[in-house]
């Protein structure tokens, strides 16, 4: 990665997910490329879910941040060219999810079965003695669980292939 592209990634590490403010868009894994048209960066994003209502908002956040950082004509676009999946979340990102009280998604090998969701580690006490309440949570990317050890309900960022 050349210096000017690395600079863009560094800036984007300060743009946080609008729904999970502890994780940056870079750590979430949705920044798929930075291209250059002369001195103008073109940042490419990929949606987490095709129905994610935050996508347009995130494009706008990136655009504004780049303007603020002194780029005159930045471009931001999103496409399905690179299909996002939860293995694309960085190590730092997984920790950031936990910090927000969300159990991070387990790494997957390209397929998901219901079993994967039945013993997610509780983000509050780390016990694996948990059960899945429902794979559909308050947003498309979350599932709901119950910890039988510390008796708390919690949400997980669900694994997606």
């Amino acid at each position: 990665m050349d210096k000017r592209t690395a600079d863009i990634y560094e800036i984007l590490e300060t743009v946080m997910d609008p729904e999970i403010p502890t994780i940056s868009l870079v750590d979430l894994g949705i920044v798929t490329a930075v291209e250059w048209e002369q001195e103008n960066p073109h940042v490419k994003l990929t949606p987490t879910f095709s129905g994610c209502p935050a996508l347009r908002f995130m494009e706008q956040m990136v655009h504004e941040k780049l303007l603020e950082s002194g780029y005159k004509m930045p471009k931001v676009s999103s496409s399905f060219e690179v299909a996002w999946n939860t293995n694309m979340i960085s190590e730092k990102g997984l920790q950031a999810l936990k910090k927000h009280g969300l159990a991070p998604p387990p790494k997957h090998a390209g397929y998901i079965e219901l079993d994967v969701l039945s013993d997610i580690a509780c983000p509050l006490c780390d016990s694996r003695n948990t059960t899945l309440q429902t794979p559909f949570g308050p947003t498309l990317c979350r599932s709901m669980h119950y910890c039988k050890h510390c008796h708390n309900a919690f949400e997980a960022f669900k694994p997606v292939t």
Partner: protein
């Protein structure tokens, strides 16, 4: 291979029927918002509605790239004769057993269809199919869980699900109504064709249902609900379209 005009027409026909299925079923699923039998189910149908609307938007954007109008105009200004969805998705939500049976039949067909389309020669379609895979997986898992639960519930729950399966099955066969351009789509490697998809689907839903002790009706013994792909619909679609486009129609030029 070089795409001829008929290939492109076939591609548009394929995209329209899939996008319309997703848009209309997405709307129907959203009608469970606030009405689900338990909170988790309310959220499940609402989440699946959101996925389906997002997926239909991605397909309307592909159509726009092929020269069709922008997604909002396409979604909100056509009348029922211009929609190509199958009858299955336009039927009212009914009782929960009906909605679950529809969900089971439709989402298994969708999962298989998009798995096939991952290998489509049309790149836009293979790209979104790879994306949708992870989302649809959660839909079929949800449907299977309820098929199982209600079979092992009470005699009444099992009998009601079997009766819903019998009622929905002829409607579900309408998913596979062939279009005018099947041969072109197969020839160009865009899509493997409705006949091949239907065969895979019958095997899949048959296996799942038998696992839980239900019977899949004989496809040769029922009359499939056809016509939707050609713009012939039941009396239920136009009222849905009126409701869906109500806000849009108040001020079509509004900037959000």
């Amino acid at each position: 291979m070089e795409l001829t005009e008929r290939h492109v027409e076939g591609l548009k026909e394929l995209l329209y029927k899939m996008a319309d299925d997703l848009l209309i079923l997405g709307h129907r699923n959203s009608e469970w918002t606030g009405l689900g039998p338990v909170l988790e189910e309310d959220i499940a149908f609402s989440s699946m509605a959101q996925d389906k609307l997002g997926q239909s938007l991605a397909m309307f954007e592909l159509l726009h790239e092929l020269g069709e109008n922008i997604p909002d105009i396409v979604a909100f200004t056509r009348n029922d004769k211009q929609f190509h969805n199958c009858h299955l998705v336009e039927m009212p939500i009914g009782e929960y057993d009906f909605s679950l049976a529809r969900h089971f039949f439709y989402d298994h067909a969708d999962a298989l269809r998009f798995a096939m389309l991952e290998n489509s020669s049309f790149e836009g379609l293979s790209m979104i199919s790879r994306k949708f895979k992870g989302e649809i997986k959660y839909h079929t898992m949800h449907a299977d869980v309820w098929m199982k639960q209600l079979s092992y519930g009470t005699e009444e729950s099992k009998a009601r699900m079997q009766s819903a399966i019998n009622e929905v099955f002829p409607l579900a066969l309408g998913i596979f109504e062939e279009g005018e351009f099947e041969a072109e789509l197969i020839e160009a490697g865009i899509f493997i064709g409705e006949t091949a998809l239907k065969a895979q689907w019958l095997e899949k839903v048959g296996t799942e249902l038998h696992k839980y002790g239900y019977t899949l009706p004989d496809p040769e013994a029922v009359i499939p609900a056809l016509g939707g792909r050609k713009g012939f619909h039941t009396e239920h679609l136009q009222p849905l379209l009126n409701e869906m486009s109500e806000v849009f129609q108040i001020d079509p030029g509004a900037d959000w």
